[in-house]
Symmetry: C2
Subunit: 523 residues, 2 copies
């Protein structure tokens, strides 16, 4: 087992120059754990950014195969962490061992999937236009394009996936795959976990002879601003709250050199119950929906926070069933006391809202979150009321009854951007509500039929993104292999002698990558 | 010949509700032309944005083939404009007829190239991960991804390419190809040209039955801010000054919903003269370089504004030759009086700078720009002096002598981001200066060998982009087919019945597009 030091990771070394320390908390008992974690000083933040900058020229120039070996090694190191690691994550997050094991498999699988992308080479986007020396009125020179990493990336992970969206999570994997060294701000909600995972990444980097500084991690609640403003940082990946994400976006945009930020922030993930489905299998839907809302204590970006149905006897019966199920749901321990405080405030806001009715759920008490079911007047959505569009992070959802199909469309049109939308439907519903798909496409990053949005598959086709405020840039995704695009930029070589070109652009295609040559794809 | 009306283009109609008018100017004589062009009122700006928003759901859902027909029709309409059109553009811009004809061919060719991309279908980025119902521990649902246009795009064109970077220029072509309706702010430097081109676009839209509002154009010097802040606008394309581009970026970032801006702004395009090349063919290089600097009166984003050479007798001889050529270069008429004023100020700033020496060029007088050659002390670049890194838009360049190879690297490291860098080199130089290519890759969007950056080929492999301040987002390009990426976002469908899916995602691949299926490319 590793020795926890609580020191920052800078350029392959450990550093603890600051006096301020953070402590982790036993999420179940609330006990403050003794181990100090040293907040990075301003100088340490700068050194971490500069270490990443030093690593960049070497790291970005490595072959895809070499970077793939590094990612595979990270995956192996993660998988090799012992039971004590699982116990440690569980202690900090109150997540059960099975969930942590599953999340670890997802996290190492994500690294291996990006390794596969690196070996496939399509992310390089190689394009070749051969010279046309005889063309009139002017000859065309030889032009060749590929994509390189944008530079060092600052990554801010989320509390709710201490592995998959944290230290060695999706943003880190995408940035490292793209050839961008990373400076990771350790999440204060799981400091032991962060250190164990950072150790695994560093072991992998050393084992595969990566440049020192390819991965850095700093501790501290207030280190983010200086990091994002550091001139060496060229892009930011963030998963967290709307307020936090927007603040980083604003800082990045106001830099002397603005940099891109991909922030995954706030989504209430509307779920639309269509009439035939409700009539045919309303009871089953109530059971499944409740399970999705309380899964992982509702601490998912894709938690279904808004349920829409068309007024009918079936809907009324469904709501009664759902309320009965919610009334029986046990309280759950959240990831940390801060999360519980936020959840309680969110629930209080809904309870206090004159247009919102409380349907089920026990009053808040003690250290656990009580699942809650609310119902809101449709007019609140039509009036763009902020309370009902705000994400409440925890096991709660809000039902809204619409008068008819026309009002359903009106309501969907009035929604903010979302990560997901879900249709619960039978074939008869699909034809009757065919206009929903094109409308939802404009609102969300992923549309599901007869599923629940809380499972986010790590694959080529996934989109975990969507229009603001779901993310800061709807052109990106933070899950799935397209996530790498956020951290790549194209470079073109004109009339370049082959010996000087990056190897991947050589005529013989030595890396065997897909290429667009004179306007045609060659596999 | 069209009748010039000077009315705004809103949703397929003309509108002139405002009292304020603009006038175009005969660029050669300075005569103010009588035709009034009505500035859009705030209400007209809003209506233009809303017209684009109304067109969006229909336009984005058209097949690639249908949008390709529209772009081809625009190209045909541009090519069909008569000699009176060429004369009109020439009158407003002082550009010679041959240049305008060439630029028109480039502009219509650009439309046709994007039509080809639409027919190829790779821009859709189709990815399919089939369901794995038997997978343990959890089954995988069917997931399918493609990309759709982000929504209405506001486009701001440049003065220096009244066709290729203006009304129906590269940003408009890329946005329309992506499925994004456009609101174009007519450039005040060529109002007649703008109207004639807008007419051509509208004729093409009507002929191919595009939705009204697919293309809108508004006049006015102060309409940009309201347009960029309008909630219907989802992205911005801009070509122009650093000050103007940065202002738009800041506005877009400060919106309640921030939107992406691709602004192509400021670049001095360093050209590096390597020793053997200078020794072997210094005189020829001097002639070619001078021709590139004064081409089109130096009014190109890729004008070589900084020439670097290593101190030597050959460099001294080269500088003398170059100075002699510059001394003979005739004055040229710029695109507009504003451009001349800016150029004169830029030249004055260099003349007044204590570290800058004036080598050749006649004093400014009258209505034309005099080509100028300057030499600056290398220390100014090392000190990041702003004057020598600032683009002077016109026929001028700045020579800098470095002491040796090490100082050359130091200077290049200190430069801001650029659109291009150029190496003038012989094989012996390539091996002696091999470290230049990886270094320049990190600084620029395009690197040339033994060419001049002023020609920007419209093709698949071109990058007309680069790190800030060359552009606001190094991940984009505004020339070449990759420009479409700026205006596309991915959407994912999970467990979707085929009948409800967009046709391009159907299993049989009816559009015959390249697809990534279960991790493998199918052509």
């Amino acid at each position: 087992m590793s020795q926890i030091q609580g020191h920052n990771y800078i350029g392959g070394q450990r550093s603890a120059e600051g006096d301020k320390v953070l402590h982790s908390v036993n999420a179940s008992s609330g006990e403050i754990l003794a181990q100090p974690f040293h907040e990075a000083t301003p100088d340490e933040i700068d050194r971490a950014a500069l270490a990443a900058q030093s690593a960049y020229p070497v790291y970005r120039s490595l072959s895809g195969e070499r970077r793939a070996q590094f990612l595979d090694a990270v995956a192996d190191e993660l998988d090799a962490l012992g039971d004590d690691f699982i116990a440690e994550v569980s202690r900090e997050t109150a997540l059960p061992a099975g969930r942590i094991q599953g999340e670890r498999a997802r996290t190492s699988g994500q690294m291996r999937l990006f390794a596969k992308v690196l070996r496939r080479g399509d992310y390089l986007g190689v394009r070749i236009d051969h010279a046309l020396p005889e063309r009139k009125p002017l000859p065309r020179p030889d032009l060749r394009q590929y994509r390189i990493g944008v530079g060092p990336v600052a990554v801010f992970g989320a509390s709710n996936f201490p592995l998959a969206f944290s230290t060695a999570g999706g943003d880190t994997a995408a940035a490292l795959a793209a050839g961008c060294p990373v400076v990771f701000k350790a999440h204060s909600g799981h400091l032991f976990t962060a250190e164990r995972v950072a150790d695994a990444v560093i072991r992998a980097a050393e084992r595969t002879a990566m440049p020192a500084g390819v991965f850095n991690m700093i501790y501290g609640d207030w280190v983010g601003e200086r990091l994002v403003k550091h001139p060496a940082i060229q892009a930011v990946g963030f998963t967290g709250s709307l307020r936090g994400g927007r603040a980083l976006c604003d800082m990045a945009a106001a830099r002397p050199q603005p940099i891109p930020v991909f922030a995954e922030m706030s989504s209430i993930n509307p779920l639309i119950l269509l009439p035939t489905a409700l009539a045919v299998r309303g009871r089953a839907i109530a059971t499944e929906l409740a399970a999705s809302v309380v899964l992982g204590a509702g601490q998912f970006c894709t938690n279904p926070g808004l349920v829409l149905g068309v007024k009918s006897a079936e809907l009324t019966a469904f709501v009664e069933q759902l309320a009965a199920i919610f009334g029986e749901e046990p309280a759950q321990t959240l990831l940390n006391p801060g999360g519980l405080a936020h959840y309680s405030k969110g629930v209080e806001r809904l309870r206090a809202h004159p247009g919102v009715e409380h349907l089920a759920g026990h009053p808040h008490s003690g250290r656990q979150a009580q699942p809650q079911l609310f119902k809101a007047d449709v007019q609140l959505l039509l009036d763009a009321d902020e309370v009902v569009q705000e994400e409440v992070f925890g096991p709660t959802t809000l039902l809204v009854e619409v008068a008819d199909q026309a009002q359903l469309l009106q309501v969907l049109n009035s929604l903010h951007g979302q990560l997901t939308a879900t249709l619960i439907a039978e074939p008869a519903d699909f034809s009757a509500f065919a206009e929903l798909t094109p409308l939802l496409e404009q609102k969300v990053g992923r549309i599901l039929v007869n599923g629940y949005p809380t499972g986010v598959e790590v694959c080529e086709a996934m989109v975990h993104g969507g229009p603001y405020p779901a993310t800061s840039d709807a052109r990106g995704t933070s899950v799935g292999t397209r996530a790498i695009d956020r951290f790549l930029r194209p470079v073109c070589f004109q009339n370049y002698p082959e010996a000087l070109l990056p190897e991947v652009l050589h005529e013989a295609n030595p890396w065997k990558v897909p290429r667009l040559v004179d306007g045609e794809w060659q596999a």
